[in-house]
Amino acid sequence: MTTDPCAVRAHDLGKTYSVRGVKGGVRALDGLDVTVDRGIVFGLLGPNGAGKSTAVKILTTLTRPDRGAAEIEGVDVLRRPDRVRRLIGVVAQRSGSDPRATTRENLVLQARMHGMSGPAARARTTELLDRFDLSEVADRLVRTLSGGTQRRLDVALGLVHRPAVLFLDEPTTGLDPEARTAMWAEIRRLAGRDGLTVVLTTHYLEEADRLAHRLAIVDRGRVVAGGTPDELKGELRGDAVHLDLPAGTVPAEVRAVLEALPAVREVRVAGGGVSARSDNGPAAVPTVLAALERAGMPAAAVTVARPSLDDVFLRYTGRRYTPGDLPGTPGSPGTPPAATSPVPASGAAAGEGPADQSTPSASREAAR
C-alpha cells in the first residue's frame, strides 16, 4: 500500500467459469490489468462477453478471481471484502432494487444496512430523492416505475453511503434514448462532485467516448488498449471519408479515380460504396467530388467521420466492433468470448469505412 493509492488497481485478474458441456470451462478473464486514478470516469469498453462484468464482480467483492490481485483505495479486495464494501457503490447490470417496496423504503433500507441511524437514513433518503428527481415517486412501489426512473433509483442506492468509488455496470442498457441522455448527464455530474471515482462498463462506443476520461478496451478477458478517448483515436491517422454511389456506378471505377488523388489514401470498396482515409477529411471532400464529377460518376452522398472508437477497436483486435447484444444473456458466463466476434460480411474486408450502421456512432457521421 502506498501513501496515495489510486482508486482501483487490478493486477493479472484471471477467472474461468465452469460451464456444463464446455470442456475446460469458459475463460472470462485472462490476465486483466487496470489502474484507475481518483476522481475520474473510467470506462471499460468491450463487446458482451469480453469480461467487463466479471471484472466488476471481482472488484465489488461479489465473486473471487482464480488468480491475480485487486485493491480499492488501497484496501485488498480479496482479504478485506468487508471493508471494501463500505468504500464502493455498485449499480449492477440488473436493477437490484426491491420491486415490491417503495422508492423511499428501498433507500432507507440500504442506508440502514450501511449502519446509518434511523434519522440519518431518512435524511439521506430525502436528499437523494430530491437530487435524483425521485420525490414525486417516493412512495410508489418500484415495480410501477418506468425503466429510466428505476435506473435513477439504482444509482441513488449505490450512492446512499457516499462511496469513494462508484461502479456502473452497463448503466444505460435497455433505456430509451431520452433516459439514456439523462443518465449520461447524471454520470458526468457524479464525477465532478466530491472527487467520486466512477468505473463505467459499457459496450456502447458512443457512451465510452462521451463519458470516460480514460478508457480501457477489453477483449477476450484482457485489456488490449488504454488511454484517453482522444489519445486512442489520435493513434489512427486521419478521418474516414465514405462515398455512397448511385445505382449503376461501378465502385471499382470510382476507386480508380480516387486512388489518383493525393488528398486521400487507403481507398477501399466497402458496403456498396467507397471508403478512404484523409488527413483532413472536410478539405478533401470538394476535391473528391470534383474529380468524380469530371469522370462522369457523381456520388450520391458523402460522409466524413473523425476516427471512432470503432476504428480503434478494429486496430487492436483485428475485428470489427460488434456489441454482440444477445437479449436475455447480458454478461452471462455462458457467453464465451469467442462468440462475440462475427465479422460482418461487407465492412470487414474494407476495414476502415465509417462506423457500421448498427453502432451508435453512426449518428455522429454528419460532416463537420
Binding site: K57, L62, R85, G96, D98, L141
Partner: protein, 273 residues
C-alpha cells in the same frame, strides 16, 4: 471471508448486534411486501382451513378403527394439518430466492455490508410469522369445529413453535436449492415429489400403530412427524414433556443445521456468479 486473525475478535464482537439489526430490517422488508398482497394472505389462511375440513370429513370414521386411541378426529388432525401447512408454505422459499437473484437484489445485498446470516434468518423470521398466523388460525378453526385442546395455551404455543421450526428446516433447504440450482423447475419438481410422501409418512392423519412396519421406521425419521408428535403430545391432557422436548430439540437442531447450510451456500453461489 478471510479476515486477518488480528482484527477478527473485534469484528465478531460487533457482528452480533449487526446480525440482529439486519435480520430486523430485512424481515420488515419481507413482511411489508406481504401485507401489500392481502389476497395472497387470505389465500394462505383459507388453504389450511380447506385441508382441515376436507381431511377432517374424509377420515372422520378412522377413529372407529380399533387401536386408534383418540376421541375426536378433528382434535387429532389439527397438529397434523399445522405441520403439513408449515412445510408446504416454506418449501417454496427457494423460488423467492431465485426471484431475488434474477432481479439482482441478492447481488446488491452481497456487495453491501449486509450480514450474510441475516439474509437467511430474515427469511426464516418472515416465514415463521406467516406460519405462526396460519397455525393460530387452524387452531381456532379446530376449536370452532369442536376440537378440544386439553394442553391449553402452553400446548398451543408448542404446536405453533414446532410448525415454525419445521418451516425453518424446509425453508433453509429450499433456499439452498434455489441458490445452487437457480431453476424454479427444480424446486417445483422437488416439492411435487416429496410433499405428499412426507405428509403421509407421518402420524398427521393416522397413528403409526396402524401403519405397516417399514412405514413406521421411515416415519420415525421424518422431521414432519417430529413436529406433529411434539404438537400432539403438548396438546394432550397430561403432556409427556420429555417426548415434546426430545422432538422439539431435534427440530431445533435440524433447523440450525439447515440455516447453516443455506448460509454456507452463499459461498458456492458467489463462486459461480
Amino acid at each position: 471471508m478471510t479476515a486477518t486473525p488480528l482484527s477478527a475478535p473485534a469484528s465478531r464482537a460487533l457482528a452480533v448486534p449487526r446480525v440482529l439489526a439486519h435480520t430486523w430490517f430485512l424481515t420488515g422488508r419481507r413482511l411489508h411486501a406481504l401485507v401489500r398482497q392481502p389476497a395472497f394472505v387470505a389465500a394462505n389462511l383459507v388453504q389450511p382451513a380447506i385441508w382441515l375440513f376436507l381431511f377432517g370429513s374424509l377420515f372422520r370414521r378412522v377413529v372407529d378403527i380399533p387401536g386408534f386411541g383418540h376421541g375426536s378426529y378433528l382434535g387429532y388432525l389439527v397438529p397434523g394439518v399445522i405441520a403439513m401447512n408449515a412445510m408446504n408454505g416454506s418449501m417454496w422459499a427457494g423460488v423467492a430466492m431465485i426471484e431475488e437473484i434474477d432481479r439482482g437484489t441478492l447481488n446488491r445485498f452481497l456487495t453491501s455490508p449486509v450480514s450474510r446470516v441475516a439474509l437467511m434468518t430474515s427469511g426464516v423470521a418472515d416465514q415463521a410469522v406467516t406460519t405462526g398466523l396460519q397455525s393460530a388460525a387452524i387452531l381456532l378453526l379446530g376449536l370452532l369445529g369442536g376440537a378440544h385442546y386439553p394442553g391449553g395455551v402452553a400446548g398451543c404455543a408448542v404446536v405453533v413453535a414446532a410448525g415454525a421450526l419445521l418451516g425453518t428446516v424446509f425453508g433453509g433447504l429450499s433456499n439452498a436449492m434455489g441458490m445452487t440450482l437457480r431453476q424454479r423447475e427444480a424446486i417445483i419438481g422437488f416439492n411435487v415429489l416429496f410433499m405428499l410422501p412426507l405428509t403421509f409418512l407421518s402420524s398427521a392423519f393416522m397413528p403409526t400403530a396402524l401403519m405397516p412396519h417399514w412405514m413406521r421406521v421411515v416415519t420415525a425419521c421424518n422431521p414432519l412427524d417430529w413436529a406433529v408428535r411434539a404438537g400432539r403430545s403438548a396438546l394432550a391432557g397430561e403432556p409427556d414433556w420429555g417426548a415434546v422436548l426430545a422432538r422439539g430439540g431435534g427440530l431445533l437442531a435440524l433447523a440450525v443445521v439447515c440455516v447453516g447450510i443455506s448460509v454456507a451456500t452463499f459461498r458456492w453461489y458467489q463462486k459461480s456468479v
